[in-house]
């Protein structure tokens, strides 16, 4: 029995194709991107003139200047992260708390609120594009509010905000479902005991329910942080082709329009590094609540 399960040959048959394929298509390109980012330009473009330049591109990337949109793009992605964490997540939490309390129509609401999540982000963006062009101006006129001069996506300072709204809207349902599922795993008698002790509404939520679903909050937070750094689809569809106001957009334009492959690779590596650093940061912030519920109590 043990011999059958440790047969080297069959292990290779099961595992090796996947490992080789995965390494060739996912891991190998990442290291290649890293290598490219350290060259002045890739050999495929400049031939023998290609040479090692170290961190030059990374320094250029963050050298402030009017013609360098990358620092601004990073700031924008952080703004999106802030919006996601301080507006989208609390709102989703609010809905999750309401639904977990078991109002009439609980599962109907939950199922409907989740619908936007399964729709393609391209469809969502195009739909919102029509809303910005057709519906909102009419609504504004009817209310006698001033419609922005070039439309909602025409103003260089505000268009990025309007391009954020569709994906914020779309993923409320996802966060709601994750939190709702976690809230539902809290044992009934804990809620009951707290209610008997006089906790209800906000107090119950902040003292009992939210602390108890910390591990899920970590999942939601990392989901929205990583989503912010990688945000691409919605703004790419809604904004003009040359827009570089977000890191992923900037990388795309530098790579496929400006053909600065090495420079764009450096930006790609920066996005990856940002994701890894923030994931590590979250793990550190939530280090106590991971499966050690007694630890916090013990320290008091």
């Amino acid at each position: 029995m043990k011999r059958v399960l440790s047969n080297k040959w069959s292990i290779m048959v099961f595992v090796l194709p996947t490992v080789l394929f995965f390494t060739y298509i996912v891991i190998f390109p990442i290291f290649k991107t890293l290598w490219y980012s350290l060259l002045n330009e890739i050999p495929a473009k400049v031939g023998d003139a290609s040479h090692f330049t170290g961190l030059t591109h990374y320094i250029t990337m963050f050298t402030p200047g009017r013609r360098n949109p990358f620092p601004g793009a990073v700031v924008n992605s952080l703004l999106y992260a802030a919006l996601s964490i301080f507006v989208q997540l609390p709102f989703s939490m609010f809905i999750a708390l309401l639904l977990a309390d078991g109002p009439r129509g609980e599962s109907f609401y939950r199922n409907t609120f989740f619908i936007p999540v399964v729709i393609s982000s391209v469809v969502v963006s195009l739909l919102w594009g029509r809303i910005y062009k057709g519906l909102l101006p009419q609504l504004f006129e009817a209310m006698n509010w001033q419609v922005p001069k070039n439309g909602f996506l025409g103003n260089a300072n505000t268009k990025i905000w309007f391009s954020f709204i569709p994906s914020l809207w779309q993923y409320v349902g996802y966060h709601m479902l994750l939190m709702y599922g976690a809230l539902k795993t809290i044992p009934e008698d804990i809620i009951e005991a707290a209610t008997v002790d006089g906790a209800s509404g906000a107090k119950l939520a902040f003292r009992i329910q939210i602390p108890m679903i910390k591990p899920m909050l970590k999942v939601c937070l990392s989901f929205s942080l990583i989503g912010s750094f990688k945000l691409f689809d919605t703004p790419w569809v809604l904004l003009e082709r040359s827009n570089m106001d977000l890191p992923a957009l900037s990388m795309y334009v530098e790579m496929f329009s400006n053909h600065k492959y090495s420079y764009a690779s450096a930006q790609a590596i920066f996005i990856v590094a940002e994701c890894l650093v923030f994931t590590a940061l979250l793990n550190w912030v939530f280090r106590e609540s991971d499966g050690k519920p007694g630890k916090e109590l013990a320290r008091k």
Binding site: V4, I25, P29, V123, R130, G134, I226
Partner: protein
């Protein structure tokens, strides 16, 4: 007897109804837009039901004016083959990594799971170098789709496969069944629910994918997401047909969700709780 609702409950219901409206309105708007002509979309009746239900928009987007039928077929092929790939490779490696016993299996498992933390952006240009010669075929998308969805598939399967008792293998072994037969005729059938959970997650990722699809497809193998994005430019004057294209692209996922909303929600939760 109906219980009377308290004021608090009424307020909660009102709030939920308002958000329900915000969730459904864009969809309502898409459906009605797909049945109107451009004049009506931008006229005073942009919000109401269509005065004349123009089903011809659908014919237009599907066949003659648009190429949605083509895009749909391509998306179906890419998604279908990807799902076969992730299920097969994912199951085989999950079996080898988590059921069999060998030195280094944990290291290889961690190695593959680390792939999940890496966004596709990071591999973009080297991927173009690998796949450039394939852009006239479906493989240019299927290959990266399978590779990038293997980690999440293995992770979802891992939760289930480690719960199956080893007595299954022991009994099979005593009966003279070889390891491949055991894996594929005894354990695999027990893994079907897990494979479905993983497949739904991968389906939604692949069906809705835009970045790679926009880079690695030429005209004949273009998928729905890229196709309708292009249509939005091409149909600047015919918003009704564009609406019809959007509806057609959304229907498959919407129908899947309506038929098995519980299962879809389970898949997406399983896929998110990966860290």
């Amino acid at each position: 007897m109906k219980r009377k609702m308290t004021l608090g409950q009424i307020l909660i219901q009102l709030f939920l109804l308002v958000w329900l409206f915000f969730c459904l309105f864009p969809l309502y708007w898409m459906f009605t837009m797909s049945l109107k002509d451009t004049q009506e979309i931008f006229g005073p009746n942009s919000v109401g039901l269509p005065t004349k239900w123009l089903w011809s928009n659908y014919a237009n987007a599907w066949g003659s004016g648009g190429r949605v039928s083509n895009y749909m077929l391509n998306s179906v092929i890419d998604t279908f083959v990807t799902l076969i790939g992730t299920s097969l490779l994912g199951y085989m490696s999950a079996y080898g990594l988590l059921r069999m016993r060998w030195k280094g299996q944990n290291a290889v498992f961690t190695y593959i799971l680390m792939g999940m933390m890496i966004p596709m952006h990071a591999a973009l240009y080297p991927l173009t170098e690998i796949l450039l010669t394939l852009t006239k075929t479906h493989w240019a998308l299927i290959i990266p789709y399978v590779a990038f969805n293997i980690p999440i598939t293995i992770l979802i399967l891992s939760g289930f496969i480690t719960n199956i008792p080893y007595e299954m293998e022991e009994a099979a072994c005593i009966d003279g069944s070889g390891i491949y037969r055991t894996a594929f005729t005894i354990i695999l059938p027990m893994m079907v629910p897990a494979l479905i959970t993983a497949a739904i997650f991968v389906f939604l990722q692949v069906w809705n994918e835009l970045l790679l699809a926009s880079l690695f497809t030429t005209d004949t193998v273009r998928t729905l997401t890229v196709g309708i994005k292009q249509m939005s430019g091409q149909y600047q004057t015919d918003y009704g047909s564009m609406g019809a294209g959007l509806v057609i692209a959304t229907l498959p996922t919407l129908i899947l969700y309506m038929c098995m909303s519980g299962q879809v929600q389970k898949s997406l939760v399983a896929g998110a709780v990966k860290g």
